[in-house]
Amino acid sequence: MRNIAFLFILLLLLSCSDVIELDLSEAPPSLVVEGEINNRDGRHIIKLSLSRPFFETDDFSHVTADQIRLYQNNQLVALYTDTDVVGEYQVNFRGNLINRYHVEIDLPNDFPLAELAGQTIISTQERIWPVPAIDQVNLEFRSNSIFSEEGYYLSLNMTDNPNRDDFYRWRVRVNGQRIGGLDGFIFTSDELFRGNELRNINMNDDPLEVGDTVLIEQMSITSGFYDYLSLVFEQLSRQGGFFETQPANARGNFSVKNSGDSPVILGYFNAAAIVRVEATIDPENFEVRTR
């Protein structure tokens, strides 16, 4: 939709944009929690930080927890331990398919946000859904056009499970470096594709070069995390055009335990199953390795 608006405006050649000074009101900070559990990695990280005023340029401040507990099907299975980084905690545990996971976090009595001091916060239960294999990885050379720069592009094919509502996400690393920013949001629901083979799902927007090594993760995600990603992506990609929806906050899945009226806690704890492939860009001899 955004593309249509963009092209309309482009064709009219009359619009313009410029930077303006704006005074924004400042909301008090909120707690932000970010964490994931999956069925592939043995070590998982959870991060606690505070939100900041919009035009602030200082780093986000990190905050600490007293204890962080990981539960599998409501059974305590592991405790997170400290890392070298303030506000980051780790756990050694591999998730299992079909099982449900959540975390509980005890916040200290001297927690900087008074309404959360001494409280326990809890995430919703997230289930690890099975993820299908990657059927095929396609390498394509594109020349310059208004859609893409000249270079190499990877896309993949996969087949959806016909019996379930599925949500997928892909993460890409190029030479060990994760593709971030807006290009890091590749995700879909199977709503319009149920049970079919999805073809040519683009993995990169910036061109790749011969010799680049690319690691692709295909993930099953929960419907809650899909909605969250959609909202975050929407907020990050605003350009002010005709087809743009009204802003909405991405709320996440944490709340104060046993409280009907929890203060806003941002961030998401999600669970995923992952399959990985790796490929090196070589038009003569393109090989895909399962990792």
Binding site: A27, S51, T57, L192, N200, E244
Partner: protein, 771 residues
């Protein structure tokens, strides 16, 4: 007072009745008046140009007049009922005698009509226009109480109402999308339009189905005297209108076409990225009418318009309206006039791609068929009654996807249609009581039903509906009633004439609306969905109160009016944060019904001085909403809550060669939601937003200028003229929106970016011809 009514009724009157027409082309003149010279006895021609003047037998000096036309005087001996059609000449055609009368019946001071704006196409053509396209809807946005959310935004907002609350009628057929190219140009080709009237309040009982306004646009009937045409070449489009008699004075036709041609130029480009694009719109208006003897007239009219946009094989979209009207006017007796109308209206869009295995076709449409019978009973001078019945059937088809290839990834998808039926009955009186009072009052009754085939989802929580929590599905067979609503809509307007050509007026109206446009963008888009009322979404309702003061001194050089209004809305649909509206079978789960309030003040003044004409209006208007489940249940501003707006129009006729126009607008910026903070997600800085619509864009202001040149030396039977324009003359960068992005110099620093649709002055030149 009662006594005077009885005395009137007992008099043995005869009637003078007939049509009032333009002498040059036979067009019926809606709102022209017939009165007895020197008295307050008079009658107004109705929407079909028909009038009835009841008089005791005798000889009278009759004056026939209409704005923009030279009044005509006749001495008539009236012994029994007389059928007499009058013809008026346009002003400035060299008529020697000009009668000045203080008893103009259409004067705002005399009728009970309140909150009504009437515009002639000639007036509109004198004003500056964007890119030279004469535009009805852009022009009504300069009227008090009418605004828009931004440049290029579809539709218009009337007194704190959403754009879907306007009943836009073209020859009585509703038009679902009134814009081309998103909202840059309206679908009304000014060359095909005869008359338009906008009701912002005090809406008569003959109209229903939309809460905030009625824009009643009538197409030209076609010249009954001689073949004529006009056309023009503009920057955006060219147009041609042909009209003429089929049988002189008995029947005529009018056909008018317009097409934009940006794509004609892009096709010449060397770059295939530009060349292989398509972008155009077109309209076709057509009408024929026949006099079938003295008592019957038959009209057939239609509109057909489309916007088409395509980018190579990858993407194409088209949307448009089609309307058709078949109308039969019959005079049963001089006092009983009937209008039987069959109406068809359709709006549809398609989005598609022809790109190999990804090809698909997505279609959506709305289809309306209406049959109605309206009657006007001219009981006596000062008392007419309109009454009628209408039946409407609607089909709302929200969407269907058909994959283009057998092995496509995409599945076929069909969202269920909503089928509705509406029966309505109304009566409406227009009554004069004594010399001081005029009353309009009526009642409308509507019965609405949503019928099968269809499904109703039962949600775990029927109020805070969640699409993840559907507990049951009810199926309904074809024709089975799924939900019904009905209601009474009282309407009343009162005029009390004061001394000194002034009047105080008041009105109250209630209206129901059975389908609402669901949009979660700032301006509506062509793919927004009309959702009819169902078990969860009750019909929207408004109660509007208006109080006004009108002053029009006899000299007629100036007039002022002031109106205050208050509107109370119920069951307005709004979307929850993060709603997904397309292809959502559980649409009502993302929607909530809430209440609303709008109030304001409109002051308007007009003055003519020599060759100057000016109109100045100021509007103070608020529009607020409160919906459980949105904005924490607190009141919030509607998207179009723009408290202050000042509009100024100025035209100056220098001589018969040159005339000039200017319009100026300054308004509060529209409400928006700005971020109040940010948080980190996977290394991205994600904005956190404050309360819905709690901020505002910077103020909007704009000056447009125009000049029209009609060369003195013209070839015989062929008149040409030029229109020049400067839109946004002082190059104001009005913000359409403000968005935020990381600074290019320092990506950790965020900055606010203003998007202006027109960041500069836009000149235009149009060549017009008439033959």
């Amino acid at each position: 007072m009662l006594l005077s009514i009885i005395t009137y009724a007992q008099e043995k009157n005869v009637s003078l009745n007939g049509y009032i027409k333009d002498a040059a082309n036979g067009e019926l003149l809606i709102g022209a008046t017939v009165s007895v010279k020197g008295t307050s006895t008079g009658a107004v021609a109705n929407n079909y140009g028909y009038y009835v003047l009841n008089l005791p037998p005798g000889t009278y000096d009759i004056i026939v007049q209409f704005l923009g036309y030279a009044p005509q005087e006749y001495s008539l001996e009236i012994k029994s009922n007389v059928r007499k059609d009058f013809e008026l000449q346009m002003d400035g055609l060299g008529l020697e005698e000009v009668v000045v009368s203080s008893d103009r019946e259409e004067s705002k001071v005399k009728t009970a009509e309140i909150s009504v704006e009437r515009l002639s196409v000639d007036q509109i053509k004198k004003l500056p226009q964007l890119l030279g396209e004469v535009d009805v809807i852009r022009t009504i946005q300069l009227l008090p109480g009418v605004s828009t959310v931004g440049e290029g935004a579809t539709g218009f907002n009337v007194r704190g109402g959403n754009i879907d609350q306007n009943l836009v009628l073209l020859d009585e057929a509703p038009v679902y999308s009134s814009s081309h190219l998103l909202g840059f140009f309206s679908v009304f080709n000014a060359d095909a339009v005869k008359d338009l009237k906008l009701y912002k309040g005090g809406i008569p009982a003959n109209y229903g189905g939309r809460l905030s306004s009625v824009l009643d646009v009538r197409q030209k009937d076609g010249n009954k005297k001689e073949f004529a045409g006009n056309g023009g070449l503009g920057l955006i489009s060219s147009r041609l209108t042909l009209e003429g008699p089929i049988q002189k004075d008995k029947s005529s036709f009018m056909i008018s076409g317009r097409r934009s041609y940006l794509d004609v130029f892009t096709a010449l480009a060397a770059d295939p990225d530009i060349r292989d694009n398509t972008l155009y719109f077109y309209d076709l208006n057509a009408k024929v009418n026949f006099d079938l003897g003295e008592k019957d007239r038959l009209y057939v009219s239609g509109y057909f318009g489309n916007d088409v946009f395509a980018f190579q094989d990858l993407f194409r979209t088209a949307w448009g309206n089609r309307t058709g009207t078949l109308r039969w006017n019959h005079i049963f007796s001089p006092k009983l006039f009937a209008n039987i109308t069959g109406i068809y209206s359709r709006y549809d869009y398609t989005i598609g791609s022809d790109d190999d295995i990804n090809s698909f076709e997505w279609t959506s449409k709305i289809n309306q068929q209406t049959l109605k019978a309206d009657f006007t009973w001219f009981a006596r001078n000062g008392l007419t009654m309109d009454f009628g019945y209408a039946y409407s059937a609607h089909i709302y088809a929200p969407g269907e996807i058909i994959p283009g290839a057998a092995d496509a990834s995409l599945n076929a998808l069909l969202l269920p249609e909503d089928i509705t039926r509406e029966n309505s009955l109304f009566f409406h009186f227009d009554q004069k009581i004594g010399k001081k009072w005029t009353l309009n009052y009526g009642l409308r009754w509507t019965a609405y039903s949503l019928v099968g085939p269809g499904r109703t989802y039962v949600y775990e929580d029927p109020v805070n509906r969640n699409r993840q929590a559907v507990v049951d599905t009810l199926s309904f067979s074809r024709g089975q009633t799924m939900q019904t609503y009905s209601g009474l809509e009282p309407r009343i307007a009162i005029n009390y004439q004061l001394a000194n050509q002034s009047a105080i007026k008041a009105s109250y109206n209630r209206l129901y609306q059975y389908a609402q446009l669901i949009s979660n963008t700032a301006a509506a888009t062509p793919v927004d969905i009309w959702k009819p009322s169902n078990q969860y979404l009750r019909p929207a309702q408004v109660d509007q109160f208006v109080l006004g003061y009108f002053l029009e001194p006899v000299e007629k050089n100036w007039s002022v009016s002031a109106e205050v209004f208050y509107k109370k809305y119920e069951n307005l649909v709004d979307f929850v944060d993060g709603a997904s509206l397309l292809f959502n079978e559980y649409l009502e789960a993302d929607l909530r019904s809430g209440e609303g309030e709008a109030y304001g003040l409109e002051i308007a003044g007009e003055k003519s001085l020599g060759n100057f004409y000016s109109k100045l209006s100021y509007t103070y208007s608020r529009s607020l909403r409160r919906t459980d489940g949105i904005n924490d249940g607190n009141w919030y501003r509607a998207n179009f809550d723009k408290p202050h707006e000042l509009d100024m129009i100025l035209t100056y006729t220098l001589n018969d060669k040159w005339d000039f126009g200017a319009s100026f607008i300054v308004a509060t910026g529209r409400p928006v939601t700005y971020p109040t903070g940010s948080f980190q997600f996977e290394g991205n800085t994600v904005p956190i937003y404050g309360a819905r619509n709690s901020d505002r864009l910077p103020a909007y202001h704009r000056l447009d200028l125009s000049a029209n040149l009609t060369p003195r030396r013209q070839r015989k039977g062929f008149e040409s003229s030029w229109s020049f324009g400067l839109y946004n003359a002082y190059m104001r960068r009005n913000a359409y929106s403000v968005f935020f992005q990381p600074s290019e110099q320092n990506p950790s620093q965020l900055e606010a970016v203003r998007l202006s649709i027109f960041g500069t002055v836009i000149p235009s030149a149009t060549y017009n011809l008439k033959f």
